[in-house]
């Protein structure tokens, strides 16, 4: 664009030349951009459009003769599908619980570590370890080493604490608690690191002034720390919510959605419909529904963020 403005107004001929040059440059830029743009279209936009397209069809590998365009039929079925609503509820409970726990624990840890004089660096390195593990690996570790009845570490501790052996993944309520704890265990360090970084950047003079005014520690926390940390907290909530809504690997490996459907989040239900039951059209509709839910919730959160 620059050459065009630079040559503007220096006579008609050079102006034409400038425009031609500018146009060529623009074309050249477009040509340079094209491969990356095409790759992006092919890998993100196309699958998304195809997903929506597929959700308007009946695609049943088990009954190929019945395949065809059905419009919104899949969505009508979806609204009356109990299992869709129950998996949506499981998704929301899972997301709500894990995000609240992560922020609360992450903030508590950050405040605690801020006052550590020594070993803060070590603590940070150790704390970040769960985040770098693959969720599938985390799932396998918890399933076999931690939660297995009679053999796992958690169960061993429970027996010694007098609670008795529990079927951590075989009982509907305990299984839900277990998967929430696993997700929280893995991702709290992320909230902790972000909040610790913003805590460290808070100006010290405000606290000094507050201390001179004899504000109590609780007061200082509620009136200074929390409001100043608000942008960071909201950002953590938004990022963690989006990830929790679309979580898959850990639950898939730990419970597979079981027992029964007690931990079957919407994502898992869509997967089972598409790839186990081979009902691709309806599975796509479920995935689109999940996309809409995620967009809605993050839209609300972003609106809240801008509100103040």
């Amino acid at each position: 664009m620059k050459p065009a403005t630079a040559t503007a107004g220096t006579g008609a001929a050079s102006g034409d030349l400038g425009r031609a040059l500018a146009q060529r440059e623009r074309r050249f830029a477009a040509a340079l951009l094209a491969p990356a743009f095409m790759a992006l279209l092919a890998t993100t936009t196309f699958p998304l459009v195809f997903l929506m397209w597929a959700s308007a069809f009946r695609m049943d590998l088990a009954m190929p003769f019945a395949d065809g365009f059905v419009g919104l039929e899949n969505y009508r079925t979806l609204l009356t599908d109990d299992r869709f609503w129950s998996s949506l509820l499981v998704s929301l409970v899972y997301t709500g619980a894990t995000v609240v726990l992560q922020v609360a624990l992450g903030l508590a840890l950050a405040l605690l570590v801020m006052d550590m004089k020594r070993g803060q660096g070590w603590f940070r390195v150790v704390a970040i370890l769960p985040v770098v593990l693959s969720p599938a690996v985390v799932g396998m570790i918890w399933r076999t080493f931690m939660l297995a009845p009679e053999f796992g570490i958690v169960d061993y501790l429970a027996i010694n604490a007098g609670l008795g052996s529990k079927n951590w993944l075989g009982d509907p309520v305990l299984a839900m608690i277990s998967v929430i704890v696993i997700h929280t265990w893995q991702w709290t360090p992320f909230a902790f690191m972000v909040l610790l970084a913003s805590l460290a950047s808070l100006p010290e003079d405000i606290y000094e002034a507050a201390r001179l005014d004899r504000a109590s520690a609780l007061h200082r926390f509620r009136r200074i720390t929390l409001p100043l940390l608000r942008p960071a907290i909201v950002m953590v909530i938004i990022m963690r919510t989006m990830v929790a809504l679309t979580a898959f690997a850990a639950i898939f490996t730990v419970t597979g959605g079981g027992p029964g459907t007690a931990t079957e989040i919407l994502n898992l239900y869509a997967y089972r419909k598409s790839f186990t039951e081979l009902s691709i059209g309806y599975g796509s509709a479920l995935a689109v529904a999940l996309l809409i839910v995620t967009l809605l919730i993050s839209g609300i959160l972003f609106a809240l963020r801008r509100a103040k």
Binding site: P64, P149, F275
Partner: protein, 464 residues
């Protein structure tokens, strides 16, 4: 996903062969002679084994000893036919999905794969695999007098056929039998259960969790091939019919009795953890001495007799499935068979058929079983004649008392082609039922509610 790589053993073998080449010429000649003799039993077939020479085919199998043995002898196939075979090992939990994705996208990646017999209806409905009867009938491709197709165990052939048409050739298979601890049973004066009620009372009598011995365990984890492997036998023994008046029915009084029997047994006499167990977990627990009995595939005998891990060798005995209130015993008809992927060139299809014929032939079955040089021998050979072979029977009886008799009696008397509903919708039905069974076991729903809910879910699946 793993492709076939030379192991340390094959590396050592190559090394030895190379040393022989350098040093001792007569040994080389002998070896060449041996190679010639190796193929003689195959060359007795009146077909041109070399007709698809130069082709390369990829075969998907699961990482199990019975396929490892086949991979080990596969160089003989290359020598016989000039066809290159690449093996790809895919865990059983993923092989069905991978195969379906390959078949539906018609890429022809896998010329053939170890197929779940329950999937042939789906494959046939989509025309993804070739009907095999024309290959069997073609005299240039098959020498029926040599191949002796009828020697292959009838129940498995039936399981790999849809409406009387053959779609896969069984390579290895299994039956479901009772496995129990002779010493524990003898100590209490118990006999292996003849009916389901006796099985429950035996398990209850031996269930002493304080001594870390539980009465029994059946597959508990949810999955079409896990809890929905063991439940259909119970359902059929209680007189259940999958198709009542032509309509798929998974609930009703027989289903409720069957599921209650399973849930009560698991809650009273099995370890709590068994709710998440598949067969390897059960066999492991049994070989550690923590289970008094279980009912599962006869092939798990090789796990409970593994000298490196098992503490119960010499204390194991076998019996058929206990019979149900109807007097029926119902075993699985599980087998891994090979179909031909239809999305291939004609020449590749021929190459694939030659591979299948070679793998399922009596000669290769023997070479991968009792005549196999390695430590693990197969217990699921596909030939009735081998099950009568004295050498094989002797080897199999090493697994414990009554092993061959219980297996043979089950193969001949207890197999039931309607063990599970054989329809293209099976993957969806199997998954739905697996979820229902687990809901009932975990107490998320009552037996009746779980089954009624499953019925509501399977009905729309059957509507065209």
């Amino acid at each position: 996903m793993m492709s076939f790589r030379p192991t340390r053993r094959t590396f050592l073998k190559t090394g030895t062969a190379a040393a022989a080449l350098i040093g001792i010429a007569p040994a080389v000649l002998r070896q060449a002679g041996a190679q010639e003799a190796d193929l003689a039993p195959y060359k007795a077939a009146k077909i041109d084994w070399q007709q698809a020479s130069g082709e390369t085919i990829t075969v998907a199998v699961i990482p199990a000893s019975y396929f490892e043995n086949l991979i080990t002898v596969a160089p003989q196939f290359k020598a016989l036919t000039g066809i290159d075979v690449r093996f790809e090992k895919i865990p059983p939990a993923q092989i069905r999905q991978k195969a379906v994705i390959d078949l539906t996208s018609k890429t022809g990646t896998y010329a053939t794969h170890a197929a779940d017999p329950m999937y042939y209806s789906l494959y046939a409905a989509n025309k993804w695999v070739e009907p095999l009867d024309s290959y069997r009938a073609d005299k240039s491709l098959t020498d029926s007098d040599w191949f002796k197709f009828d020697d292959i165990i009838p129940a498995w052939r039936a399981a790999d056929s849809v409406d009387g048409k053959l779609y896969g050739v069984p390579y290895d298979g299994e039956v479901t039998i009772q496995v129990y601890r002779k010493d524990l049973y003898d100590a209490k004066g118990l006999k292996p259960a003849d009916d389901l009620a006796a099985f429950v009372s035996n398990a209850a009598a031996l269930n002493t969790p304080n001594d870390r011995v539980w009465g029994t365990a059946l597959r508990g984890v949810a999955g079409a091939g896990q809890n929905m492997y063991i439940y259909p036998s119970i359902f059929r023994e209680f007189g259940g019919e999958w198709f009542k008046g032509g309509k798929l029915t998974v609930n009703g009084p027989e289903a409720e009795q069957a599921l209650s029997w399973y849930v009560d047994l698991m809650r009273r006499s099995a370890p709590t953890a068994a709710a998440n167990w598949n067969w390897p977990d059960i066999a492991d627990a049994f070989s550690q001495g923590t289970l008094a009995s279980y009912i599962d595939a006869h092939s798990s005998a090789s796990v409970v007799n593994n000298p490196e891990k098992s503490k119960v060798i010499g204390k194991v005995a076998y019996a058929r499935w206990p019979k149900g209130p109807t007097g029926k015993r119902v075993s699985s008809i599980w087998n891994w068979g090979f179909p031909i992927n239809a999305a291939q060139t004609e020449k590749k299809k021929k190459a694939t058929w030659l591979f299948i014929q070679w793998a399922a032939s009596a000669e290769t079955q023997a070479r991968t079983a009792h005549r196999f040089a390695g430590p693990t021998k197969r217990s699921g050979v596909n030939r009735t004649s081998i099950w009568r072979d004295a050498e094989y029977v002797k080897l199999m009886n090493g697994f414990g008392d009554n092993f061959v008799d219980a297996t043979m009696a089950s193969l001949q008397g207890d197999t039931d082609v309607d063990w599970r509903p054989r329809v293209p919708q099976w993957p969806a039905i199997g998954d739905t039922m697996a979820t229902a069974i687990q809901s009932a076991l975990s107490g998320q729903a009552t037996v009746k509610a779980a089954l009624d809910d499953a019925q509501r879910r399977v009905e729309p699946m059957m509507r065209g």
